[in-house]
Amino acid sequence: MTITPGHWLALSAALFTIGLIGVLVRRNLIIIFMAIELMLNAGNIALVTFSNLHQQVSGQVFALFVIAVAAAEAAVGLGIVLALYRNKETVNIDEITVMRW
């Protein structure tokens, strides 16, 4: 019953995959954004696990940077959604078709 880094990494891989499936399957933009957040979080879990494995904080600090990046991306991404919504009232990716997708 010992928990090895492999366990944590498997968890992170599973979460990454869930996020990936979400991006590919869902059509609601905001849910796609959230699936991408899941992918970033999976990366963070891997970083923290490796950080423990190597007994250094670099991985945790890297994860902090990832969180900062996620915040910046969320702000800009939601700004883009709002700008789009003002012009065309949809958040469905299939209805965004002025140019070929």
Binding site: L15, I30, A74
Partner: protein, 168 residues
């Protein structure tokens, strides 16, 4: 033993939460599940002795980023329209196929890479605790990226205002 119990409970919570995020019918429910997942991940960081990161995860992710999502969902999604899926079968099949293949691959990698359990946990890497260790790394080792990150956040701020402002 304690770690094992914590791991399995948290793993179950995180994965269930993740699945619910991408399967929920309404975007608001997705947001709620995302919050749950993020808090469970924060608990996972505590188990892994990354206390500072855990608190930041809750504070920034749950308290900031996801609130933003909730705001936008409410601004653009008030009427709760059903999500129109244009080619449901095709999309879902590709998605699931790809996802399944990747899951298998990832799991294989995770297990193969660390099949020799090098158990390395339970350490704060500094006599004076996790917070100080993180602070030292952040302000000494990674000072340059830290400063660049401040420019990044400035860009995000300017960008969000530029994009969301209604021009007169």
């Amino acid at each position: 033993m304690g770690t094992a119990i914590a791991f399995y409970i948290l793993a179950a919570l995180i994965l269930t939460g993740g699945v619910l995020v991408i399967t929920a019918k309404s975007a608001v429910h997705s947001v709620v599940w995302l919050v749950g997942t993020i808090i469970a991940i924060a608990a996972l960081y505590v188990v892994q002795h990354a206390e500072f990161l855990a608190v930041i995860q809750v504070l920034v992710y749950a308290g900031g980023i996801v609130v933003l999502y909730l705001f936008v969902v409410m601004l653009v999604n008030l009427k709760r329209p059903a999500e129109a899926i244009v080619h449901p079968q095709r999309r879902e099949r590709t998605g699931l196929l790809l996802g399944g293949a990747l899951l298998a691959q990832f799991a294989a990698v995770a297990f193969y890479a660390f099949n020799s359990p090098q158990v390395g946990t339970a350490a704060t890497y500094s006599a004076r605790g996790n917070v100080e260790a993180v602070a030292r790394a952040l302000y000494v080792e990674y000072l340059v990226p830290f400063e660049v990150a401040s420019v990044l956040l400035l860009v995000a701020m300017v960008g969000a205002i530029v994009l969301a402002r209604r021009d007169a």
